[in-house]
Subunit: 228 residues, 2 copies
DNA sequence: GGATGTGAACGACTTCACAGCG
DNA sequence: CGCTGTGAAGTCGTTCACATCC
């Protein structure tokens, strides 16, 4: 079995899920929800491909992982496809999240309403700064980090968002893992070490800006990027 | 010439830059800066590989693009490598950026000091909300969007950060392009259409959270992820 | 006809393995 | 020796092309 397959427990000849597809699943879902709002009953692989900027064959390969939902000559029933995707992605249930670090980034996240629509609910906000503890921020009271374990237990939170300075990232990561958190969205510009079984996604804004500058730099100096 | 090569204007047999390498260059730089702080004179491909979780051969392939900086038996001189990388990435100069959307996200970005160290400077902040215009936010006065073109011209800004709601993203993107911006870092959950010659990097936080939930979901249901 | 599902071909990226140099 | 630079091999992901089904 190849290394890059994300194990399907199956007998062995059902479609497998590649890492690359994983990254596209959320995008499919987003566009499908748009199609549904536009009352499109069936979507074809080429409609989705165009929306994402990939080929129709690629789309069909990806969607094959969800089972044989497509109907030749018709396409995929929008609603069924959404349901299947939500199920596979795990967003057909509620995810309770805690936020650590009560700064402006936390405010921005808590205020953004897009998360709730996708099943994410922020249930608690923590900080280590004594001045902030007890204050209300976007409807949540700032709690001391010492309360993490208790709160995670009481709320059943599974995910944590780390919006803390670089120095604090590793100890806070350790603390949330200790508290029982299974997935971390990290905004600090370091990659914390985590035990197996805890997932991590990092968003490093300085690196994103740097990549952007690089792209501009490239197109300003010599080269052409092939348009993809 | 292969499609995925990012054109090197060269004669034809110097190392080429792959899309995948591009994404790693910023990471190399980050770790190199750490090594430099730790007074490491020379770094080997295996040191960098370990830091990024990739093989040493991969590192050497990537770094070959910078020219023959490596010394057999020794490694790469840390400082030279940093200088070469900065030069290629285009972060050996200042990048002036404007921010559109004076909300909490903008506050968080403006307050974060990590950008300046990498040569990024936020020179102006815009909003369409009349209540915000004229107010000071983290040392910048909020300007009306109508001033974009003038300000971009006066400051020489090349990059724009879009921290606006989804509905506003496309018109604002059009406006900053019209004003002469060459690269956009977009936080709105849509991908704006842009003319060729303008680069775009999108950061969609809802999608990141969804990916995280998916990873946790996967590891909770069946499967094992290979640890990379 | 129109669109799916899929083996086969293709291309890109990664790893291997080793010659060559300090 | 140790470590680079690099052709060759291998692996993964994407696209092609077409049989198949509604």
């Amino acid at each position: 079995m190849s290394k890059s397959e994300i194990a399907s427990g199956g007998i062995g000849n059902e479609p497998r899920l590649s890492r690359a597809s994983v990254a596209r699943f959320s995008l499919y879902l987003r566009h499908l929800e748009r199609f549904e709002r536009e009352r499109v009953r069936n979507v074809s692989s080429s409609m989705l491909g165009e929306a994402l900027g990939i080929t129709d064959a690629q789309v069909r390969k990806d969607l094959a992982y969800l089972g044989n939902l497509g109907q030749p000559g018709i396409g995929y029933p929008t609603q069924d496809l959404i349901a299947a995707l939500r199920n596979r992605l795990g967003v057909d249930r509620q995810w309770a999240c805690v936020v650590v670090g009560a700064g402006n980034l936390a405010r921005a996240l808590l205020r953004y309403k897009g998360f709730e629509k996708h099943g994410f609910r922020f249930v608690a906000l923590f900080d280590s700064d004594a001045d902030k503890i007890g204050k209300m921020v976007e409807g949540l009271q700032v709690l001391p980090i010492q309360n993490l374990k208790e709160t995670v237990g009481a709320t059943g939170a599974t995910l944590a968002v780390l919006a803390v300075p670089a120095e604090a990232a590793q100890p806070v990561a350790d603390a949330v893992v200790e508290a029982g958190i299974k997935g971390i969205l990290n905004f600090a510009p370091i990659m914390p070490r985590l035990p197996a079984g805890v997932s991590l996604i990092g968003v490093d804004l300085a690196i994103q800006l740097e990549q952007l500058a690089f792209l501009v730099h490239l197109s300003q100096t010599e080269s052409k990027l092939d348009p993809r």
